[in-house]
Assembly symmetry: C2
Homo-oligomer: 475 residues x 2
């Protein structure tokens, strides 16, 4: 736990979700040191006496931990001279770095369950719309259009920044949210996730501190672990991050970066208020903080909420977006809108790590945006989601599950369970009945959301979900 | 230069390509320390006297360098107390890390020129086939087929490993090269570059040493810079890496990883001999070296050459492939075949950094592989490339440019220029005439390939190329 730490600016009490035995804690600490290379292959482990003292455990606990690690092959003993880290390759394992979570609330596990689920599985916990809610007719038409396009579009690499007419169109769309941006400040990527990944590569070093919301989109945790960042979280309120604790986290941890969704927050559905946005940017200016504003839910809004990028004029705020949630997750296309003087460096990194982007995906998205089918689709989708939101809210309330805020825009209802009911336990039971839920602690660095579940209202049409939920809570 | 070093196992003399002034050298050193964070914002710079001594330059040179850096805003002076690194964000810049190359032989610059080039530009230096050489009819048919496929394929995320029937088919194809692999050991990625990037994330840490061939595919240099690896190169011979120097590099630098193409080597077109393959794997075993075998040119072979992955049985060798060179670079699809116990960790990393893969691209590739159009296309393509290879070779010899080996398979002819002619200079002149060349030193870590150019024979049909070349060499 020493090397890559996950902390929270909460003062709230944060019980460890799984209480490991002392032996397991010692083992985890050593494993993490090996993975994080503070113990390189062949390096001598701390002596049993010294380690027992520093971990505040008994020597017999350390002896037992070292012996079990040796049995696993992670370390080797040399009689008379102590224990050594094993010499073989210890590849980066996301599952091992950071707090060892129960697999049912491990962010990656939730993603994998949702991505892997077959047709028989219901997925109220997943983060995207059912395929049948996507603009299928438009997608099919765009594919037929692509089949008649020129050779270069079908077979060549994209240009370094990505398809120019799509970047022009994105710049015009962002102007609609008050963000002044030139097409030359927009870089296309394979997805929103890849956009954030590229920015992390550009902006942070291993060991740098990054602020996230608590709760936040769970893949931010996994992505930041992959970058070996130190992650600190700030509680999210219905109008944005708790600004006093945000200021405190800045002073205490001096983070380089803050990653957030400001338009429609995932998982809570909350919307940043103009007052909070203004105070947040003032704090960011004072402490030279860079902000990545993940705006992939922008088009689900009923009315345009404040954007940090709009207030800031893309100087210390960079925005990312994608069409995976609104058009298709099969046709991958995301984008970054960044300060002008970052573009060259970002483009070099993009070429180095992905070479040319996927031109076909950009062409398909452009076709759908240009012919009006995207706008019509989104109008219908917002209305359909509003109905599903109302209906899901009613059904959840009927079984004692309470939305945190009333009728948010977007896909998600962040809900509290009745007192004494543990979301991870409910998720485990529901999974046995083929229902994938998203337990609160998967989104919470401080592990203080054990009473919450996130529901995707578009995936909640099947009444069996509520029967399974009710049964899982009753046991 | 202290922090991220580029070394070579060559003993050959390696003249600096551009001779920077002493002041510029001092400036570059400071800039690199700032970028690599060995000088963090606010940190005091070495005193003028101490730095002059350690750089073996005069104090006035350091004064001049510090003043110019202060004028640029990279550092700040505090009267009476010396110079300090400026406090603002210093994002990772690939262009600044590593040796400062002339932009004309900077690997990223060559990529960007090729990716950005308009129709009026001839690109014998680029790394891919003209769009018209790709299976356009098949691609168009595959798009029409996709337009009739089910909703899920068009709109949903792919499964974590990627489309199962495509992975099954890839496993069968690899069996044809003698590589025994289960579909569960294959992970689809967005591209070959992304496959290598994912493996680097999984296998190496900043500061680890990685071996590459000299010359090698230039984007390996850029990618490894992005991973902050220390890169060491070993000269490539017509039958594979120079095995004695390879052994020497292993002993001296203890690299974690070796990245190579063994079937058809880029840029040389050489093919690994069975003897070299065997000796190389023995050395790898002895020093616990992992090997990434980039096999993206596999389908251009006339006869199947040895694969390291086949000899090794995917235990310390991992293979990657893609269809960007043979089918389409617009429809992005690559893959990794890896040891079984890496798959979980690689999949977690893939989800964290790209979430689901692009399912549509996988569906399109599967359609083309299944309906036989890929096989027919490749048969025709190999014959067409063999003709272009012969023709380009003849035209080059006529103007005094000599292929390094005779009639290799694949796309590339690695050629020596007449004595005294500098490839980078020729490339600069040709660019003024709208011809993008690939000068040897873009591929050479040791910068010992200043007499070489890489020609893509499929991009050499236009006779103007040879006129421009001749003129550029004559000047």
């Amino acid at each position: 736990m020493a090397d890559i730490s996950f902390e929270t600016a909460h003062t709230a009490d944060a019980p460890a979700f799984v209480a490991p035995t002392l032996v397991e804690s010692v083992m985890a600490t050593i494993r993490q040191r090996i993975l994080a290379r503070s113990l390189t292959p062949g390096a001598r482990l701390p002596s049993i006496r010294a380690f027992a003292k520093s971990m505040r455990v008994s020597k017999s606990t350390v002896v037992e931990a070292y012996e079990r690690l040796a049995a696993e092959g992670a370390i080797r003993s040399r009689p008379g001279s102590g224990f050594y880290a094993a010499g073989s390759l210890a590849p980066l394992s996301l599952a091992e770095i950071g707090p060892r979570l129960d697999r049912a609330v491990d962010p990656l596990w939730v993603s994998r369950q949702s991505l892997d689920a077959g047709d028989e599985v219901l997925k109220p916990g997943c983060g995207w719309l059912p395929a049948s809610w996507m603009p299928q007719a438009g997608l099919r038409r765009a594919l037929r259009t692509a089949a008649r396009t020129d050779d270069v579009a079908l077979a060549d690499y994209g240009t370094p920044l990505g398809l120019p007419p799509l970047r022009q169109l994105l710049a015009r769309r962002m102007a609609g949210h008050g963000i002044e941006v030139s097409p030359e400040q927009i870089i296309l990527t394979e997805s929103g996730t890849q956009a954030i990944d590229l920015l992390c590569r550009f902006l942070i070093e291993p060991g740098d501190t990054v602020l996230v919301d608590d709760p936040c989109y769970f893949n931010f945790h996994a992505l930041l672990r992959a970058h070996r960042a130190k992650v600190v979280s700030v509680p999210y309120t219905p109008s944005g991050p708790d600004i006093d604790l945000f200021a405190q986290a800045l002073a205490e941890h001096r983070p380089r970066l803050y990653i957030t969704n400001s338009a429609i927050h995932n998982p809570t559905g909350a919307i940043l208020s103009p007052v909070t946005a203004h105070r947040l940017l003032k704090l960011a200016d004072q402490s030279d903080l860079t902000i990545v504003e993940d705006d992939i839910f922008a088009d689900f809004e009923h009315a345009s909420a404040p954007r940090l990028a709009a207030f800031d004029g893309l100087s210390r705020v960079v925005q990312i977006g994608s069409f995976s949630k609104t058009l298709s997750a099969s046709v991958r296309c995301g984008f970054i809108a960044a300060p002008r003087d970052w573009i060259d460096g970002l483009t070099d990194l993009k070429i180095a790590t992905t070479f040319g982007g996927g031109r076909l995906a950009a062409e398909l998205v452009l076709t759908l945006l240009k012919d009006g089918s995207y706008r019509k689709h989104m109008d219908l989708l917002r209305a359909r989601l509003a109905r599903a939101m109302a209906e899901t809210g009613t059904r959840l309330k009927a079984i004692g599950i309470t939305p945190w805020i009333d009728q948010p825009a977007g896909l998600f209802l962040w809900c509290g369970l009745p007192d004494g009911v543990d979301a991870a336990e409910v998720a485990r039971r529901a999974l046995a009945d083929n229902v994938v839920l998203a337990p609160g602690n998967a989104f919470s660095l401080s592990q203080t959301a054990s009473r919450f579940l996130r529901f995707n209202v578009a995936q909640c049409e099947d009444p069996r979900i509520f029967k399974v939920l009710e049964a899982a809570m009753a046991r």
